[in-house]
Symmetry: C2
Subunit: 394 residues, 2 copies
């Protein structure tokens, strides 16, 4: 068991050792967050191939940027959990670990002899977190799932896209990413409980559960108030005007969520009388007449460029923003000033750019991560640790 | 300061008191998560109006379902932070609190006399978490932001939607929700640090930072490998076939992320020869020829219904799923078996349905929440607590 750090400048998870069996995204995103919070993350990978994501493009000099984007700051050891000698080394790691994270299909860990009951008996302080498509319980538990499966079954696709267009995927793997965040929350929660009583616990996160948890008011609205939220393009389901609009050139967003902001918007558009029109007199009326409102606003917006309108809205203190592409986000002065783009030197890729840590805690520096590990790169150091600090089953 | 619970069956945040100044969604979603993890959340609201979200529809018997969906399990007291007598009561609350959460525009807390330096001097163990559009630092810090602003500026909109269609909003307020999750992570982190040294810390979460953190491989791909990810409808940027397809009736998703799954898919489609075609021989080739691949697959899918194909894919162990609407998600047997839909009796609304807690920890029951509070409903109980357990500044 790791010795807790007491230096006040230590990061939140200083001294915490995470043994990480996860592959692809939901689990690795969770352990990336744990590494950013200061944990030591030891990635245990299959010999030869390693994490499946090592084979996902795009590649630079043969190394996956997909893998790199989520595995920086971790160490790697290759172990075959079906080989007796490798299993012994794995037990040595578990004896040192505070947390084990895995995202196999439910049942796999039991078949390997690492089910919760067996592990808890041998390592009573160990926290074990599992993230799977449907969770460890329920009729669909044994099924494999992927991000797109839980996006589709969790309802978010049914409310994303234009009214008359096809259903579209949320453009990032939100099913994996949100599950990774909830798994990190579950692990911190279990560590806090262990801090009180010394007992490790099992954390069971289902990607589908997490999608249900982020449906915002849609679930309550449907089950309690009737009505079924559907795709409405760029509009907000409860507020107007609060959407994307076209201008002479590029799109922009306007968020005028209350009457005072709507009056300011009308004035900035050069049409203060619009605020006094009875059909737009309240948010409820603006919602009821949202198509006409959208047409009225876009008619005026079509006269000038997005940049000109954004300057006018900023002067009038009307919340508005450009729709930025990845290239613009990556170079935005606010994003850079918050250290949300980090650069590390990777021996294969060269300069590697990564998203920073959004959890900013006063007095803590945002440390630069180590580059994503080559498969098995940290084997000797990790095994030396198990020999010097613990014995299997201790 | 609350007395830590030692009962092993207590939830992770048992004994933690959260004073909650937040409004609308990012902050209230964070404190909903904290309440689900067992914290006592005391919502401090403006007299007369309360949380702005109380005015957001839809309504049942005059009560907002939007507000209800995210504020169950909390208590409410109305205090005017500009009134001297109310400020005294607020100080009494802070003296009892472990955590203060706020989502005002940066600078507001300082103007009220509750900036971090002043608070930390008076309440050195208090954790203060702020969630704002752009964070407490950087050139855009003073600006107001809303979910759609950070969706637009954070890049997620630029990768969501069809190639030739308009940009669309992610259909839930992912800018607020992800920021709420990161704020909860920051608070648990700061509580763990306080557990080591007894010192409260400032947590500073920017909604824009959180959007950058969930760009998956897009940021790294652009800055390190060149290329700019764009909207591609329902397709995955790195894997094929991994998207939504049309059938004879409803859409479905297929996730055949590797060669073995692709062979199984081709067999299930009754076209095993497709797996042997040179243009589809690897994921890289399938990505390069994805339009032809999509057309080939949809041609076969058009012969049968989604239900028929899903049965065939299940039998063949090919990952696939229906695209469910909110009504189907809310009644899905897996979702219900995981207790992800809870029902509480609200005195105004009647039976109120809410999303459950996706953080499942072994040995902990998922407790039913109390209904969302009426404005100021818990005033007497909260003030009695400040009189009996602490004095301002203690």
């Amino acid at each position: 068991m790791a010795i807790p750090q007491t230096n006040p400048a230590s990061p939140p998870l200083a001294g915490i050792v995470v043994v990480d069996l996860t592959r692809v995204l939901a689990g690795p995103f969770c352990t990336r967050v744990l590494a950013q919070l200061g944990a030591r993350v030891i990635k245990v990978e299959m010999p030869q191939t390693g994490d499946d994501a090592r084979a996902f493009g795009p590649f630079v000099n043969g190394k996956s940027l997909y893998f790199a984007s989520v595995n920086a700051g971790k160490e790697s050891i290759a172990l075959d959990l079906k080989s007796p000698s490798d299993r012994e080394m794995f037990e040595g790691l578990l004896a040192l670990a505070d947390v084990l994270v895995e995202n196999y299909r439910p049942g796999t860990m039991e078949r390997l002899g690492y089910g919760w009951d067996a592990l808890h008996a041998r390592h009573p302080k160990l926290v074990m977190a599992s993230v799977s498509g449907f969770g460890q319980t329920g009729p669909l538990a044994p099924r494999a799932a992927y991000d797109l499966v839980v996006q589709a079954m969790g309802g978010i696709i049914s409310v994303t896209g234009t009214e008359d267009g096809p259903p579209v995927r949320v453009g990032v793997s939100i099913g994996d990413l949100v599950a990774g965040l909830y798994t990190a929350l579950g692990i911190l929660s279990a560590l806090m409980m262990r801090g009180r009583d010394g007992v490790g616990r099992r954390v069971d996160i289902a990607m589908l559960d997490c999608q249900v948890a982020i449906l915002e008011a849609a679930l309550t609205t449907h089950l309690t108030g009737g009505g079924t939220p559907r795709r409405i393009g760029s509009r907000h389901p409860s507020i107007a005007p609060f959407q994307i609009f076209r201008t002479k050139d590029a799109p922009l967003v306007i968020c005028a969520g209350n009457d005072a902001l709507f009056r300011r918007l009308c004035a900035a558009l050069g049409d203060p009388a619009m605020a006094g029109r009875t059909e737009y007199a309240s948010n409820e009326l603006r919602m009821a007449n949202v198509s006409a409102l959208e047409a009225d606003i876009e008619k005026t917006l079509s006269n000038l460029s997005a940049a000109q309108w954004l300057a006018a809205f900023e002067a009038a203190d009307v919340p508005a923003a450009p729709v930025l592409g990845i290239a613009e986000v990556a170079r935005h002065e606010q994003v850079l000033s918050r250290e949300m783009v980090q650069c590390v030197r990777d021996p294969v890729i060269g300069d590697l750019h990564l998203a920073g840590n959004p959890v900013k805690i006063g007095g803590l520096e945002s440390a630069a991560p180590t580059p994503p590990p080559e498969l098995d790169a940290d084997r000797e150091r990790i095994l030396a640790m198990t020999r010097s600090k613990g014995t299997p089953g201790s």
